[in-house]
């Protein structure tokens, strides 16, 4: 029985992937991508990986699908080529290029000079602190260096999008009262679920990424209903929150060095609290980044201020 189910799932996945690549209509492709992501989530569940399934369903199918469809909706309003304004000004190109090259070389030298992998002193991931969820232990403790860089990648992606130009602000369409009604009920529940996922991530299925996906989905729903999203709307608050994930992660990582450890090698006694601090900052930052990306690619439903 299980074999039949798994075979059907696997075949369906391949068929969907093929159809997704073949279909000419981009809207259909976006919808197929969401269906594909949901099926992949079911496959992860069958492989007994609920953490990955949750992340795939929320991030892979939900938020990414919304990003795709919103991008499609926004393509009509974005100029095909960047205009002459915005570019130029500031520093000359050769200076920027030289700076980038020097920085890259310095980074490469720094990485090459690292003899041991930092942040990997404990061979047993589930050994210390209160982290009994092996996935969280690997992400935030055992391989925390990777996760730190992942949060940085997301932040840099947002910087790149922001550098391409701000979101076009279209006059908000009057949202359907039915949607507004749903959002008013659903968003508080989603914030609660996000907090719960964050908290129970230490011991059970959940964690910063899943929590961030649910928060981001709540933010996107607020956007669609034409309601404000306070952490993302503030022109000063948004970049700070977006950078906070990487900053807090790095700050804690460096702070434990002052206590005599390696980079990101948390002391056993404070491990639970430190990881929760990092996860909270990372979850909020990723959620803000995802909503900001949604704003940047779409037709722009930011409520007028």
């Amino acid at each position: 029985m299980a074999l039949v189910l798994d075979t059907v799932l696997a075949l369906l996945l391949v068929a969907l992937a093929w159809r997704l690549l073949q279909v000419a209509d981009l809207f259909q492709a976006g919808v197929l991508f969401i269906v594909f992501g949901l099926l992949v989530a079911v496959v992860w569940l069958r492989l007994a990986a609920p953490d990955v399934a949750l992340a795939e369903a929320a991030l892979g199918a939900g938020v990414t699908g919304a990003l795709f469809l919103n991008t499609l909706a926004g393509t009509g309003e974005h100029p095909r080529e960047a205009g002459p304004d915005g570019a130029g000004g500031g520093w000359p190109a050769w200076l920027v290029a030289t700076l980038a090259l020097v920085l890259t070389a310095a980074l490469v030298a720094l990485v090459a000079a690292q003899t041991g992998a930092p942040g990997l002193p404990s061979p047993a991931p589930a050994a210390g602190g209160k982290l009994t969820n092996p996935v969280t232990a690997v992400l935030l403790d055992f391989r925390s260096y990777d996760t730190l860089l992942e949060t940085a990648v997301l932040w840099i992606a947002l910087l790149g999008v922001a550098a391409l130009g701000g979101a076009p602000v279209a006059p908000p369409e009057p949202p359907s009262p039915v949607l507004v009604g749903l959002v008013r009920v659903a968003v508080p529940v989603m914030i609660l679920v996000a907090g719960w996922l964050l908290w129970q991530g230490a011991t059970d299925t959940g964690g910063a990424f899943q929590s961030a996906a649910v928060l981001a989905a709540a933010g996107i729903l607020l956007r669609l209903a034409g309601l404000p999203v306070p952490p993302v709307d503030g022109a000063r608050l948004r970049p700070r929150l977006a950078a906070a994930g990487t900053a807090v992660f790095l700050g804690v990582g460096v702070a434990v060095m002052a206590a005599g450890g390696n980079l990101l090698a948390y002391p056993e006694a404070a491990k639970g609290a430190l990881v929760l601090t990092i996860e909270t900052a990372v979850a909020v930052a990723i959620a803000v980044i995802l909503v900001a990306l949604f704003d940047a690619v779409g037709p722009g439903r930011r409520p007028s201020r």
Partner: protein
């Protein structure tokens, strides 16, 4: 034993609703009638499946979670149907 039989009856009825809803989705002529077919699967079908699973779980916590999931899906699918119907009307 009685609970087990009730649970299976509920699960079977639920999958029946899902099957009927899918047939309706495939066979009905236009968007509004297709939405009509889908809501039966989402509302009654999922409710019966959740009820069956809650009976089989033997745990009040699991049953409460299933109820919550069903209520959230009810809310979402109802909203979605309304939005799609409104989009068709335009």
């Amino acid at each position: 034993m009685t609970i087990e039989i009730l649970a299976w009856l509920s699960l079977l009825a639920g999958t029946g609703f899902f099957a009927a809803g899918t047939v309706g989705l495939l066979r009905f002529p236009d968007t509004l009638t297709r939405l009509h077919a889908l809501t039966k699967a989402d509302n009654a079908g999922l409710g019966l499946v959740a009820l069956g699973l809650a009976l089989r779980s033997g745990s009040w916590t699991t049953a409460a979670f299933l109820l919550l999931v069903w209520l959230l899906v009810l809310l979402a699918s109802g909203t979605l149907s309304a939005l799609m119907a409104a989009a068709v009307e335009d």
